[in-house]
């Protein structure tokens, strides 16, 4: 439980900002609120509520799916640990497989199935509880905060931070750089299509960089 706290604390203001954004959103409040218990994915939720109203339905849906496709990677990495688990847990566990739960679960990958399961369940319930308190709190306070506080800009900073912290290796940095640049030039496209165009270009650029790096590595290894 103590190792969850450093990851838990930043989730509180994030949930709060998301709650605020919901009150300014074009999305009906009931639906925006339900995304917390049902979708439970901060970046995707924030995207949903900020672009609702200015993007078409399919543009919103594809943006969400692209954002969350990174979870496929988590699912693949955790599959070996889940193999020894009871069936109910294999179905329930992934429902709350968010970035933080994944990071913590990976630290316990060598544990016995029983204690791994207890750890995973405690962590996921802790995050779910925190999230489902922080978001409604933001929704409650949102309407009384004056326009002049410019809370409309908070999600932009939030996304910039998430992008920044998601960069762990060089190719990811290139993916982010190209993704940002292309979406700047594609900003004129209707339907917020610029997001998808940018994201796809970024992923392709990242893959190319990855390939270049591997070739260089094998070449220098061959020289040695």
């Amino acid at each position: 439980m103590t190792d969850a706290i450093p990851l838990l604390i930043p989730a509180i203001p994030f949930g709060f900002v998301l709650g605020l954004a919901m009150t300014k959103s074009e999305m009906p409040l009931w639906a925006a609120w339900l995304t917390s218990p049902l979708v439970f994915a901060g970046a995707a939720q924030l995207t949903m509520v900020t672009i609702a109203g200015t993007a078409s339905l399919w543009a919103i849906i594809s943006a969400i799916l692209v954002i969350n496709s990174r979870h496929v990677m988590y699912s693949a990495a955790l599959a070996p640990m889940f193999r020894a688990q009871p069936k109910w847990f294999r179905w329930v566990g992934p429902f709350m497989l968010i970035d933080q739960v994944f990071a913590l679960a990976m630290l316990r990958s060598d544990q016995e199935p029983d204690s791994f399961r207890r750890y995973y369940l405690t962590t996921m319930l802790l995050f779910a509880a925190t999230w489902n308190v922080a978001v409604p709190l933001g929704m409650l306070i949102g309407p009384v905060i004056p326009e002049a506080w410019r809370l409309d800009f908070a999600p932009v900073i939030m996304f910039a931070g998430l992008a920044l912290f998601a960069i762990k290796r060089m190719p990811a940095g290139i993916a982010a750089l190209i993704g940002g640049f292309v979406s700047l030039f594609a900003a004129g496209l209707s339907d917020r299509l610029g997001i998808l165009v940018g994201a796809v270009s970024g992923v392709i650029a990242g893959a190319i960089a990855e390939q270049r790096m591997t070739t260089l590595k094998t070449r220098s290894a061959a020289v040695q």
């Binding site: 203001p13 995207t47 497989l97 920044l164 190719p171 994201a199």
Partner: protein, 107 residues
């Protein structure tokens, strides 16, 4: 956005996200993903989040031209510096918002 549209987005987002999270845990027996696929997935997050940041900052909903002002750009820049130094999203948010409010007040 109508109630019906919101419900559709909600349901698709829920099912899609669950499928991504559960898919390989339920299906992947003793195999693992090809390295290239795994690497590409690692780059999805940074690429899409950077694209989102830029798109939201410049108001990329079509028709309108780029409309980020110098103050917003400066705030984002300060936020990025603080983020890189502290690796802390909360400090980054506070620094960015404080810069935005102070500069708006001055100019």
């Amino acid at each position: 956005m109508s109630n019906r549209a919101a419900l559709l987005v909600l349901v698709v987002a829920m099912l899609g996200t669950y499928a991504f999270r559960a898919g390989l845990i339920l299906l992947l027996a003793d195999r693992s993903l090809p390295v290239t696929v795994e690497r590409a997935l690692q780059n999805v997050g940074p690429a899409v989040l950077a694209a989102l940041t830029v798109n939201l900052a410049v108001g990329g909903d079509g028709g309108t031209s780029v409309d980020i002002d110098a103050i917003e750009l400066a705030s984002l820049g300060i936020a990025a510096v603080v983020g890189l130094r502290t690796k802390n999203l909360v400090f980054m948010l506070i620094a960015g918002m404080a810069t935005l409010l102070i500069l708006t007040e001055i100019f």
